[in-house]
Subunit: 667 residues, 2 copies
């Protein structure tokens, strides 16, 4: 392998800021940066965690077996960290998901749900006694669990779940059944062949009466032989677009009996005689969902950071299509059209990260308030979390694909790592609340709030702009300043909410029920929620990046200001139809914005490589022949092809078996 590619070296030499400064900021400070480096060393220097060949060459079964092998090594390291008292949320995030986990198990970890769902569910929903009984075994991985909720025929709508648990007071047992094919649990990670326990969510019946959903710990496989227990029909659901090593499974239950004490009873109880004690409130569930969605916003930032790093480095090295026919083909990053593909993704990575971080902090403040019984801001934050989850995941998935396509044919090869990154990222659009459902939840909140605004009520902070917009007749003096773009986004969002409100209202007046009126206005609702989310992101970008600028060197602040302007102008042009609909802008105003976008691209160009360098993604995390730090794109691609098992033999067996007889058939 040659040294540094000269084109990429030149980029680094001519950058106007020190990437290390932004790296520290991006990592959350010196301390967290150091911890990150220690974890990287712990995992990436272990030769046992390397793959015998690029995993895309494995069959599904081989991939699973290799995943279990590595997951156990990672599990052992977690045990050690825990014994040394060095575990914590950041560590689990890093090892199981995030960037580092994906460097080790890029198609996912079949033990992940044990750590991120099975353990937390017991902690959150088990009584103290139940925690004592189960947690230490689970922490030590004497038992390995997963979380089984979604069914083959039922997802989002929990009341539709069919799996049932009937309490038998005689034996003090629950009898679990999946009465139909559509009741089969479907999707839980690790359920196929890895876990031997699961938290199963089922409809509870005691004394012949329906009581609602409850979680049950069910042993699935024999502790020694791992054979499925009686009444358990279990397997792997099959190959998928991504997350290929996760061992998503299915589970059918036929008269499976478990002791009374296996129902997690912190929030609701069944007494030995079958008496049911209902839960006090459901606020805690909200909290968990928001926690997960906060984490998701950060994941979308990581996905964009990875994809934009790979595509930007490639674009610094790849030369193609001369601008001046008498000159050498330029680095493709010099084409404006290429810049428009790459740079907005870099900006989004930064804005989503900053938004995720600040939302995380807000979540922590809120958690405190909730514990003290103050639930006032819960619906607001839930609504925001929903639409941010939807927008960030959709933008990230689209951004990853834009980056991939910007690398032409080479982006299509698995060795670019784009296919895997896309598989992981697009999954976010569906899990933890399908995006359209998320937007509808936000919209329902916004329409309600709009009704309050009409009656002159004061609104909570993140929707207060609706009140302000109501006071304005028109949005005047669009001066194009960053602050003005943020305000304009809010004005536009408020008007979208107004239109949605009016649509629902009209249909109600035509005699539809509120529910039916909302359903018939679905398209108006989702688009209002989208604009609310866009306005939120614009405000957050503005607030967070300006705050960053105040604490960094002038050289870095200059770059961050370009990032901010690029983000806002691009966001505005992407929704220019909504802007023009509600704000009186001329053709020339739009052209001015477009010229300004182009100018932002030009200004970011010299720092593009340094900016993605500062995301500090290890070559093993990127896992991309196109994105390696040294920029030796072609050498890495070629090297990767040499690892192809097909290339180990000059002539494949299929020649003798099929091709030769076919070719010689008529000779």
């Amino acid at each position: 392998m040659p040294g540094m590619n000269p084109d990429i070296e030149k980029e680094r030499n001519t950058a106007t800021f020190d990437p290390k400064e932004f790296t520290i900021l991006w990592s959350g400070g010196e301390q967290l940066y150091k911890e990150k480096k220690i974890l990287e060393k712990l995992l990436l220097d272990d030769p046992e965690l390397e793959d015998p060949q690029p995993i895309s060459y494995f069959s599904h079964k081989e991939l699973y077996e290799n995943s279990v092998r590595k997951a156990c090594i990672v599990g052992e390291k977690i045990r050690k960290l825990r014994a040394d008292g060095e575990d914590g949320v950041n560590t689990y995030n890093a090892l199981l998901g995030g960037s580092l986990g994906s460097a080790i198990l890029k198609e996912g970890n079949p033990l992940a749900l044990h750590y991120v769902m099975f353990l937390p569910t017991i902690m959150g929903q088990g009584t103290i006694e139940q925690q004592v009984e189960w947690l230490s075994k689970a922490w030590d991985c004497e038992i390995i669990g997963t979380y089984a909720q979604t069914e083959l025929g039922h997802g989002t709508f929990l009341r539709g779940l069919e799996t049932r648990a009937d309490y038998d007071a005689k034996t003090q047992e629950f009898v679990l059944n999946t009465p139909t094919l559509t009741a089969y649990k479907w999707w839980p990670g690790g359920l196929g062949h890895t876990a031997n326990h699961a938290v199963v969510v089922a409809q509870l019946y005691t004394k012949g009466e329906f009581r609602g959903l409850a979680p049950f710990i069910v042993q699935l496989r024999h502790s020694d032989t791992h054979e499925p227990l009686a009444g358990i029909d279990i397997g792997d659901i099959g190959t998928k677009l991504g997350m290929k090593g996760v061992n998503n499974g299915y589970l059918g239950l036929k008269n499976v009996r478990i002791p009374l004490n296996n129902m997690l009873m912190k929030n609701q109880q069944v007494l030995p005689d079958g008496t049911y004690v209902a839960p006090k409130n459901n606020v805690l569930t909200y909290g968990t969902m928001m926690f997960v969605r906060c984490a998701i916003i950060r994941d979308t930032a990581t996905a964009l950071a990875k994809a934009s790093t790979i595509a930007t480095r490639y674009s610094a090295v790849r030369r193609q299509s001369p601008i001046d026919p008498n000159q050498r083909e330029p680095q493709i990053m010099d084409h404006t059209t290429q810049q428009l593909k790459l740079f907005p993704q870099i900006a989004k990575a930064i804005v989503f990260k900053a938004t995720g971080d600040s939302f995380w902090n807000l979540y922590n403040v809120l958690s405190g308030e909730i514990e003290q019984g103050n639930l006032e801001r819960l619906p607001e934050m839930h609504a925001n979390a929903c639409c941010l989850k939807a927008l960030c995941s959709a933008d990230a998935a689209a951004g990853v694909e834009t980056c991939r396509l910007s690398c032409g044919g080479h982006g299509y090869m698995d060795c670019s790592n784009f296919p895997t990154i896309y598989g992981t990222t697009t999954a976010i659009c569906t899990y933890e609340g399908e995006n359209t459902v998320m937007l509808l939840q936000t919209a329902r909140y916004l329409v309600k709030v709009y009704g309050h605004a009409l009656t002159g009520e004061q609104l909570v902070p993140t929707v207060a702009y609706i009140n302000e917009a109501l006071k304005l007749q028109d949005f005047v003096n669009f001066d194009g300043s960053l602050e003005c773009i943020v305000k304009a986004f809010q004005f536009v969002a408020a008007n979208k909410v107004r239109v949605a409100y009016e649509q629902v209202d009209q249909r109600r007046q035509q005699g539809h029920s509120t529910e039916m009126a909302a359903s018939l206005s679905g398209v108006f609702l989702t688009s209002a929620a989208e604009l609310h989310g866009r306005a939120f992101l614009a405000q957050s970008a503005y607030t967070e990046l300006l705050a960053m600028c105040k604490q960094v060197s002038p050289a870095l602040a200059d770059v961050l200001m370009v990032v901010l302007e690029l983000y806002l102008v691009d966001a505005c042009l992407n929704r220019i139809g909504d802007f023009l609909r509600f704000i009186n802008l001329t053709d020339e105003d739009v052209t001015k914005l477009e010229v300004r976008l182009q100018r932002c691209l030009e200004r970011l160009r010299p720092n593009a490589v340094a900016l993605v360098d500062s995301f500090d993604l290890h070559d093993r995390v990127l896992a991309s022949a196109l994105g390696a730090y040294d920029g030796n794109v072609y050498e890495h691609i070629f090297e990767s092809a040499q690892k192809n098992p097909l290339n180990k033999e000059p002539v494949n067996a299929s020649f003798h078996k099929y091709l030769k007889p076919f070719m010689k058939a008529h000779l």
Copy 2:
């Protein structure tokens, strides 16, 4: 397996038109429909062409070997059809790509390039003598070839290719070399381990002088042993996002000598003494590119037809999220938000198919004109082909993903077949002219035409709207009629071309070269080209669907009119920013369009299943557990999971090897 799913049966019973009528139209008439059915029988009834297991469970190497096996069987059938005189363009299309080919080899055919590139290149660029020498061997598959042009470091810009052929007059041979790593041929299908010959495109040097590009037939592997010949470094490039069975390969050449007669010499010649005779013109190359791009437009329609069929049938069966909390969960197709995902894809499938067909006819007319030396409409049609290729492929890829996401988690499973359809469809955005490059070519033409318009010149038909727009100051009386939407699209496109022209012009006046001015205006240029393409599609949808309506039953005509209106209103709303920028529309006008879109969705709803049924895609072509004709979605998914090799054993070996030691470590 149960009989027909009752929900989907109900849909079919309540449709207002006869799907068979549209099927015949879609197939191109009774005769072609019959031929299609005969070919289907020939391929789909052959048990040898079934896979031993779903191919997603294979390793890359196993997949290749299974692909060769099946490709040889298909090849044998082609031989037979040819011997019986029953071959033809339609047959090759059907067997090698299109829908039927994908039913047999859903990840592509490693012999495809032999038929669609190697043979046609010899026919198009070989002299009569060369055709005699090579064609019969190639038709009989005594030799199997591919077409090697793209290099590891060079794609679109052909003059940048590095592979060279130096003529040695002493031995009357060419000496071929790939002098650098970036000169390696990269990507040709079948090159890895399948083909034993290739047409290699190289820079020709004779008498020490550079002569331009030329095609050479190079033998790569020994006819009997299939071992790579001396100086040939060859292999498979590795796993990819899609087209996984195609055996894309790489090729390095080191002093490989081939006889003088192996250069294809129909258009240019090298005489034995090394004298070079240049080609007369390059018009023929244009012709081939347009031919391929016409075919591509049809492929994008097929992709959308497949994806929308699967998602629509699934949406008729899947029930989720009650609208009325007291009622059963509805078919998800009853949610407006779901309709907005599905129905525009159905409409696009129909419009792209109609456009592809009419463009194909135009191409044939034009080919005739060109052969008679009339090149007048060539640049215009080339420009249109470029932007249609770009827009239809981008829309189709996005549409496939929209359909996949509309099926929630189940769309993510390979058994939905969405991942494969997406892999095949998104590839179209890159091959045969990368989409951004395509749009820039169209834009270059449009800007030139705009200059002509300014001087009052008459314009050729498909850009004549620019002249009309120049005459109008404003677009008045937007009455929302379909004709008006088409006219408005043209007005908007003309204005986008004007803005692009002005941007290029301004930069030229600032002192930039024309090339640099165009490069700096890249974003304006691509977006002008896009609008031109959208206007073309709008006009084409209007013309072709109205023409269809005149020849069908009133019941079908009613449905097609809804399809047309849906297509146009949706297209307009998708570019509403451009409309509002150049046409004076109010907030109420936009709301009216949105309400109308919603109304179109409602009107299409009762016929959605019948409409996708009428695409007449065989279950084997769809290859989807979600999209089978019988609608037994859950049964098919479950059945598919049972074919997972992991599920053949209750306990996977990795339990004993890794998991058990890990779990028992601390006991």
